[in-house]
Amino acid sequence: MSGTLNYAYYPGCSGTGTSMEYDMSTRAVCSVLGIKLSDVPDWSCCGSTPAHTVDHTLSSALSARNLSLVEDMGMETTITPCPSCLTNLKTSGKRMEKEDFREKVNKLLDKPYNGTVATKSVLQILVEDLGVEAIREKVVKPLEGLKVAAYYGCIMNRPPEVMEFDDPEHPMSMDNIMEALGADVVPFPLKVECCGASFGIPRKDLVMKLSGKLLDAAEDIGAQAIVTACPLCQMNLDLRQGQINMATGSHHKIPVFYYTQLMGLALGLTEKEVGMGKLCVSPKAVLKAIGRKEKTSAK
């Protein structure tokens, strides 16, 4: 590893609310791995899902404001754990490459955005800038005996021409990290399927069906746990698991971790430091199984 890894950090709204444990564990893991995060001062919401469906210019302005704050910090790369924030920041950056669009957006901003900031997901810099091998070296408590399915959701790698990271149909970055942590990674065929995303309110039936299918598939291939990289996916699979069981008559009881939570454990952090207590489906039984490979495989 040459030099220190230094990034502007954009937690996103969910990181300070619904997915606090994602934000906590991301910060903790980066700190253990020697990655320096500097919070973007006075950051605002990226516009999330609603803004871009209403007005492209306004939605881009919301993201561009944050990017211009990063410019003020004198930083070149900003990272965010949330794929939805990532999409908005990246799409805005791409759109602003076009001069006439940039002019329209800059009119809405106090300070123009000059287009010098690259946006990446935390997952991308972990795999590309730090490297899986560097993570493997720092593992103190391998996740041996834990069968996990890596679930990326539909937007972490798509559309490929915007995200420019990993394979849009068969991403492997999270699989590779989990493997480096010592976990037993099962090939998850629905790893880029949609969970129903924010349809949980207007079309709950859809989310029950789509997320239910994901839980079925994970159980089908013998996974004991699912890891995600997306607050919305995690919420649908974890928080709504009881609802899904009711709606589809299934009996799932599978913990859904943020990949950073499991990374934290393997790197020697405590369950409290990575916010295990915030999960809805109790991870206790699964976490107990770690390190007892023989026992689980005999089952």
Binding site: D167, P168, E169, H170, P189, D220
Partner: protein
């Protein structure tokens, strides 16, 4: 010189945006111009007659036609001049269609540009000299490159026409893709039953020399007199001795060699004859898997061979064949289906290609004609076919339609029902493209008589579910999503240019398109010719084709060769370089720059000089721009002629 100028309307092609009457009127003032007129279609019979009459009436001795591209009609008008008794090189063409009317809409600007182009042509014509062709003899032998069905047809037609034929095939047997097929559409007749006898004809025809396991290394020469260097690849078996008895393949202990003939569906022995009807029926060793060659141990085949044909020390050999014409029939390759990650090709064993399925259906294939899915050998009941894998998809760089996939998929759906009567086939398609004779009827039969369920829509994903595969796609006719549980998924892969096609094109000096398919001389009127005289095309090397089209084009190419060889002598093109021996200082720069090796050094009264080999020179002109003395000049494009054009357009 008395020049006549003829400005063509080309219907509305030119006249639509160029004032041709004004162009003609203005050109009357150009130096040397004695007569000028505009004409509706200069290339038509009355148009040409008009030129001939004007030449006689106005005593013209040079002609400028302002019309379309010289590539299209220069030979036409040169013949017109000859019919009027003039030398064919006292003719110039100004391209006011492609270079003017088709690319601009401003009538005034177009007219001015057309006038400038005619002015240049007239100025050059004033400097033109009459040129005469020379005659040279033809070597009436033909080389066919590629032993697929198109190459086989071309070879047999040429050989039956009395020509000596050299057939070069890169694999160890001829037959190409067709030999791998079980049945053919729309007749569902056995592929090897109709191809096999043709292959035997190749082997037995007294006029045909077959080089299998051979590749074209170098091509020299020109129409009528090509020299082609062929690499005979080492097969580690002396083919003169090998009788094809197959004892060696039975006893070979190394049974894990790649099996390209069976599309890697199974494994084969290190010494191997690809299939029972192979021509030539000779064994060849795959050195990567031969224990004797790799580790120095084994040698079973050498011990067992009754005719002592095994030769582990064999090396590649080179032979040179002299021929007068070449037919490229190098075929196509399959699109790399693993590019579509969402279909799981290359990842799930039960997702296979259409050609692999074809091998499975074939009695001589790795499963003996039984449909067994690769993962567990079970007979599938639900078979899903996915069409347009690598066809009509810009996102994978294949925007073109491969043309035959709709038909072979229908055939495979029919065959599936024949093999497994209680099976159900599903075909995901975009459109059904079946425009041939009896073709649409055939795809309907697959649906109506054989019960194949056709679903219009693309597949978004194939994923495993237990032992089976779930195929998820859209049904755009029903307007919804569908999921089908499949035991086996067959990808109807499209065609792309054969690997190495571009390299061969460069050796043959023929053009290829951005996908690597060879370009015909004219998309409508010269479908089997190339832009290089004496080199013809047949089959899928020109673009994806089914068997009837490939065979038709093979015959067409043969007809062209027979036509070319019907003359004893060919006229050389006089538009070649010539050395002014007095000016030449013998520096040799032209010799080193000539890409065709057409210039040699000679001794002229004790001094070194350059000399052009007339039949080899292609008239590219590189030597003329290299010569520091201006001593070597390309006839019809001399420095003076080009400068006259430059002066005319710059009006010095």
């Amino acid at each position: 010189m008395r020049i006549g100028v003829f400005v063509c309307h080309c219907g509305s092609n030119i006249e639509g945006t160029v004032d041709t009457a004004k162009v003609a009127e203005t050109s009357k003032d150009f130096p040397g111009v004695a007569f000028a007129t505009d004409t509706m279609y200069a290339c038509s019979e009355p148009g040409q007659e008009g030129i001939i009459n004007a030449i006689k009436e106005h005593d013209l001795d040079g002609v400028v036609v302002a019309s379309c591209t010289p590539r299209m009609h220069e030979p036409t008008f040169r013949r017109t001049l000859e019919r009027a008794g003039l030398n064919r090189y006292l003719f110039e063409m100004a391209n006011i269609r492609e270079h003017v009317s088709w690319i601009g809409r401003d009538r005034e600007a177009n007219t001015n540009k057309a006038i400038d182009l005619v002015r240049m042509a007239a100025a050059k014509l004033l400097n033109d000299q009459p040129l005469e062709s020379k005659q040279f003899s033809i070597n009436k032998r033909v080389m066919i490159i590629g032993g697929g069905v198109a190459g086989i047809q071309a070879a047999l037609d040429c050989a039956d026409g009395g020509l000596e034929v050299v057939l070069v095939e890169k694999t160890t047997t001829i037959g190409g893709k067709m030999a791998k097929l079980d049945k053919t559409f729309p007749t569902v007749d056995c592929s090897s039953c109709i191809l096999g006898p043709r292959m035997v004809d190749i082997a037995q025809h007294p006029n045909i020399t077959l080089y299998a396991a051979s590749e074209v290394e170098e091509v020299g020469g020109y129409v009528g007199n090509f020299d082609v260097k062929i690499k005979k690849k080492a097969t580690y078996v002396n083919w003169d001795a090998c009788t094809g008895c197959g004892l060696c393949t039975e006893k070979c202990p190394s049974k894990k060699a790649d099996d390209p003939f069976n599309e890697e569906l199974g494994k084969t022995t290190a010494i191997n004859i690809p299939f029972p009807q192979a021509i030539p029926k000779k064994a060849a060793i795959n050195p990567d898997f031969c224990m004797k060659i790799q580790k120095g141990k084994c040698g079973v085949c050498a011990k067992i061979c009754p005719s002592n044909a095994i030769d582990y020390e064999q090396k590649d050999e080179f032979v040179t064949e002299s021929v007068g014409a070449i037919v490229a029939a190098t075929g196509f390759d399959l699109f790399d289906w693993t590019v579509y990650g969402e279909y799981g090709g290359g990842k799930y064993p039960d997702v296979i290609t259409s050609l692999q399925y074809e091998r499975m259906l074939s009695a001589s294939g790795p499963t003996g004609g039984h449909v067994k899915r690769p993962s567990d050998g079970k007979e599938p009941k639900n078979v899903v076919f996915i069409q347009c894998v690598g066809s009509r998809d810009k996102s994978v760089g294949r925007p073109y339609c491969s043309g035959f996939c709709c038909m072979y998929t229908a055939k495979q759906a029919i065959l599936t029902k024949d093999h497994i009567p209680d099976s159900q086939s599903y075909v995901f398609y975009m459109d059904i493209r079946s425009p041939g004779k009896m073709y649409d009827e055939f795809t309907r039969r697959a649906q109506e008589e054989y019960g194949a369920r056709y679903v219009r829509g693309r597949v978004s994903m194939v994923y495993p579910k237990g032992e089976n595969l779930m195929v998820r796609g859209a049904d755009t006719l029903m307007g919804g999503q569908v999921e089908v549980e499949a035991d086996l998924v067959v990808l109807a892969v499209g065609a792309e240019a054969a690997k190495g096609a571009s390299g061969l094109a460069e050796k043959l000096r023929i053009s290829y398109d951005s996908y690597g398919f060879y370009m015909e001389g004219h998309p409508k009127l010269k479908p089997v010719e190339t832009n290089t005289a004496g080199v013809y095309l047949a089959g899928s090397c020109q673009g994806p084709k089914d068997i009837p089209s490939s065979v038709a084009q093979g015959s067409a190419a043969a007809a062209k060769v027979l036509g070319l060889f019907s003359k004893d002598q060919l006229a050389s093109d006089p538009q070649i370089s010539q050395v002014n021996i007095k000016r030449c200082i013998g520096c040799g720069k032209c010799i080193s720059t000539c890409p065709f090796g057409a210039i040699k050094e000679i001794d002229f009264r004790g001094m070194k000089k350059a000399e052009v080999i007339e039949t080899v020179c292609q008239g590219c002109g590189i030597c003329t721009s290299t010569c520091p003395q201006g001593a070597i000049q390309l006839q019809h494009f001399t420095d003076n002629q080009i400068l006259a054009e430059v002066n005319a357009v710059c009006r010095f």
